[in-house]
Symmetry: C2
Subunit: 326 residues, 2 copies
Amino acid sequence: MKHNATDLISFINKEIDVIEYPNQAVTLFEPIKYILSLGGKRMRPLLSLLSVEMFGGKKEDVIYPALGLEIFHNFTLLHDDLMDNSMMRRGNPTVHIKWDDNTAILSGDAMQIIAYQFIARSKNSNLSEILNLFSITALEICEGQQYDMEFEKRNDVSEEEYLEMIRLKTAVLLGCAMKIGAIAAGASNSDADLIYTFGENIGLGFQLKDDLLDVYADSAVFGKNIGGDILNDKKTFLLINALNSAQKEDRELMRKILSSEITIEPKDKIKLFTEIYNKSGAKKSCEKKIEYFYKKAFIALDSISCSEESKSILKNYVLDLIDREK
Amino acid sequence: MKHNATDLISFINKEIDVIEYPNQAVTLFEPIKYILSLGGKRMRPLLSLLSVEMFGGKKEDVIYPALGLEIFHNFTLLHDDLMDNSMMRRGNPTVHIKWDDNTAILSGDAMQIIAYQFIARSKNSNLSEILNLFSITALEICEGQQYDMEFEKRNDVSEEEYLEMIRLKTAVLLGCAMKIGAIAAGASNSDADLIYTFGENIGLGFQLKDDLLDVYADSAVFGKNIGGDILNDKKTFLLINALNSAQKEDRELMRKILSSEITIEPKDKIKLFTEIYNKSGAKKSCEKKIEYFYKKAFIALDSISCSEESKSILKNYVLDLIDREK
């Protein structure tokens, strides 16, 4: 029996609620419980569960490695928030703010180990393959974060470099989540690779959509303030594209603002950059790129040797996400 | 054929030299190569190799998980140095000093994943058991570090608590290293548990010996300055024992110095505390504890169902370490 996304998410949340932690050095585990309790879309474990059911497996076959992915993902948020000195996460103080830096470092380290403990609860016949895929992916995510931090200090980041950075930092974990579902269901290697390609390209599209929504979302619907990336000089696809393709005087103006040669009111900065994104074609380029990745994803999904019916729940869930406006 | 410790250490060092790292985001991996190149006794992988050969296995059977332990151990040093803000490690600047805090955090995270990649290269038949043992141990080490940091802020740490802290932070990894050797060689469960007990108790003895040498070593032989722990108010076994067992006026005097109520020249502080450790019996208590753990260790080793001859290389190596004066 295949479950819909809502049922699977509540299954995941129930499993997260009953995770048991060692009963000594309890202060080490409080921040882990805390960050996992802040919610989120649970997209990674959900993709594993949708994938395993699409390939005819049972949700129980993949729930533990799926939880491992969610724990690992939250671990990266915990350490990234510390490295970026972010104050808030999902409307609550981040771990290094609520506790302190050392707690964030050490609880994060413990969290990574707990993620591996869940990955290790894969069926023995799949353990080695799932473990290897997970470790490669986890390292790629570190590489993505490394690039992200390096790019903040650089002014010559290319579109290709940016896309590779978000592929590593975000997209590969979605591909990994889906492939783990395929492996757990005993899918063929080629189907497992195709569902990875699907997840990876969906991830690239999602991240670019995030960049776009940060500028263009309806502020009544969008959870965060519009224009946050612009105010933070974040090197998104839009900014990189505009710095390359806008008219000369607009490029000069942006450069002077980014280097603080010219100061400008926040509201005006958002308005100006948005206008440049519009007329330079950066917005259009971004939308095109999103289309390109979604198309690539669905070509891969269509090639998978499962019935259309078995693909429908996954397809509907992803199409809903694609249409999201927040 | 059984190898002596010197041969095994050079085998380990050669294997560390040829570790290959991903060829993108290279700056992420430089600190990892750096800390692994600083040397050290390579005690953990060596104990795995000595153990596997004692139980009749081959060094190749355990080299990869053994390297995983060394990488994990160095990862803990990297993050501990950041948390403790230590400037130097093995005579060289620590990673967060040579690079920066974020590099230390992220390279450490990557290093933990690489450690798991090596652990995962265990033979398939042992993978699950070795992986589970490693993860439990790794979490215990985090718990030990958590206690260590908490104890720095407390003035009522008991001897039992201190011993539990060093068991978690240091001893369990030695037990784990030896047990992984036993598992890789196909030893019986009871022998594998006995060699764990051996490693764990040797580890407890070593750590207490470290505390003792920090005060009582011959400064001409000892690598570090004598009395560093005293100057740093480190809550070692000696200090905890003396705070409980010294004469009332000595206890008061120590407390006033520790709370900075009284200031005292470094040289005089070392001299005074050393005298109190002598006359209060703290030194003797520490020596007795060390003896106790070593004895417990060798009782376990004696119970293992291998010939005396096959135990001899391990025994000699550990006896040399026990006699060390630095």
